[in-house]
């Protein structure tokens, strides 16, 4: 497997990882369907969760795609981004407090909730080293800055969309299975504390980003 497809697998894999984590919202889709007594509400909720997640990914990736214009600093950028992701992981590992703000959002405002949940947990940051790795593989040096930036912006959208698709399919399957067959008993049974694993994942991804750019 070449490094390009390995990176795409990382994009999809992180999406699945985010999707099955109850903290990213699939139980909200179950709850919406049960409260409204309509199966349709489950899909509406999933759509809103996906939208919020996608916006959060883009909010993180797009600034980096603009910075990739500074080709001469590519290495510094990748190292800096890697260290930023490590720092977020270390922060989450030390504080281990859940952001109270998430509990203050009205249960119907799922786009906002999903966006803030992803931002607060550094879900978008997890993609940055992978994304920058992809940008580096593209034959960057031979392109004019303008077309390079256009390419990288398209790349950012591709990564964010692919990741969000994987996330919502994984979370959506869980939500549907719980709603139709397993019942809400599964919510407490399946909810594992991923706090430490999540923080360690950020650190690992960040370190990998730093390592591969040196």
């Amino acid at each position: 497997m070449d490094s390009g497809s390995a990176l795409w697998w990382a994009v999809a894999g992180s999406g699945i990882y985010h999707g099955i984590n109850p903290g990213m919202g699939w139980p909200l889709a179950v709850s919406a369907a049960l409260m409204n007594g309509r199966r349709r509400s489950l899909f509406v909720a999933l759509g809103m969760l996906a939208t919020g997640h996608l916006i959060a990914m883009l909010a993180i990736l797009l600034p980096f795609s603009f910075m990739t214009v500074l080709v001469q600093y590519e290495r510094e950028l990748r190292i800096g981004a890697g260290l930023l992701v490590v720092a977020m992981g270390v922060y989450l590992l030390i504080t281990r407090r859940h952001p109270k703000i998430l509990a203050r959002i009205h249960p119907a405002r799922l786009v906002l909730w999903s966006f803030l949940a992803a931002m607060a947990h550094g879900a978008g940051l997890m993609l940055v080293p992978v994304y920058l790795g992809m940008c580096a593989i593209d034959d960057a040096g031979h392109l004019a800055a303008q077309s390079l930036m256009r390419g990288n912006i398209i790349n950012a959208f591709s990564v964010a969309i692919a990741h969000t698709l994987a996330m919502i399919v994984a979370g959506g399957i869980l939500a549907i299975v719980v709603y139709l067959w397993l019942g809400v008993r599964f919510v407490s049974k399946s909810w594992f504390n991923l706090d430490i694993l999540w923080a360690l994942s950020l650190i690992a991804v960040g370190l990998t980003g730093v390592y591969t750019s040196i």
Partner: protein, 466 residues
Amino acid sequence: MAIRPDQSFHATAQLAMQAPVEKYGFTVMLSPDGSQSDGIAVVDLDETSGTYGQIVHQVIVPNKGDEFHHFGWNACSSALSPLSGHAFLERRYLIVPGIRSSRIYVIDVKEPLQAKIHKIIEPEEVFAKTGYSRPHTIHCGPEGIYVSTLGGGGEDGTDGPPGIFIMDCETFEIIGQYEMDRGPQNKHYDFWWNLPQDYMVSSEWGLPPQFENGIVAEDLLSNQYGHSIHFWDLRKRKNIQTIDLGDNHQMALEIRPAHDPKKSYGFCGVVVDTTNLQGAIFTWWRDDDGKWQAKKTITIDPQPADPDDLPELLKGFSAVPPLVTDIDLSLDDKYLYVACWGTGEMHQYDVSDPMNPVLAGKVEVGGIVKNTKHPNGKDFAFGPQMVEVSRDGSRVYWTNSLYSTWDDQFYPDDEGGQMVMARVGESGGLELDENFYIDFPEGYRSHQIRLEGGDCSTDSFCYPNV
């Protein structure tokens, strides 16, 4: 750090009903004259145990005169809210406020037989961080522990209105006032909510000078106690509607929303109607236009009595009022239990149709006039008061004290603390268990009961029944 959610957290009320039954209860031990320190009694409720129905441990606090009343958990089934991501809290600490001292104790009951004080929050901290005093009802909610208070600032608690404050559910730091817009709310008592539907309901007793030294007869007869319930946008922290139940409906106390969050109704108990001495239950609900409504759905008549059998306060009426002081709703939203502290009765209403409750069972024990003995032949001081229902709905526990100074006015000759239990029949009905009768240690009265693993007035569920 927990890897899985606490086993006692349940997604729905239905699942909580199927959970293993309670093995321990926690009950307030109150020294009415402040001569001893208050405490929490740990009661053995495991029917297979050799010490079943006995106090097996006591947590006695270091201060005197706190006056324990209501208390609650640091965390409950609300932790499974998909919005908050607090699923890994432990139901481990009881938050026990003193309503006379404004001191708050955090008691670690992870090992019930070795329950101990974990933290003490001094009154000065409560005053400084909240502007409130006399903390009362505890609910574990979306952003932490919500604590209702009965008093505002100042010596007598009348400097500013009472309200709710929030505490961190892990560090037990006081965060601050809850309300952003309280509207006309200026008294406080109970509160509860529906988390997915994002509303809260609160009620009113009276201001501290109206209760601390006993009931003020002139205030009652001129309808000066609370008689409104308030509806709030829970997350916006805004009073969205106030319903005045009518100023003759004095003391709107316990708020009991349906446990199934799909339902938009609940109940509120009113102690006394000053026009006829009736006790009453109001059903409140949200109509199709989104407006809140309330209607009196249960009335309980006073009972005629010889003035010689009545305390000073009631002699002029030649009747004993029921005094509806506590209510509790079973987890299946089917039975509402109503304590008639004056007449000495515990009523069980079938509220399957919340607009048309039907009396399904009744037990008589204690009471100002009847003074009915327990089936085991022993006396029951005062009347049935704080009531708690087991999760499975089969056992109903209650104690007998209302509030130190009020006990003495309504029952000047009674003293003592008792906790009893009644069993619920297959199709309703209520019968006292002859073998369950706990006499509290000398000098102590009893008040609220909490059951290990949650009960019918602690847990808020985030998913509807299926």
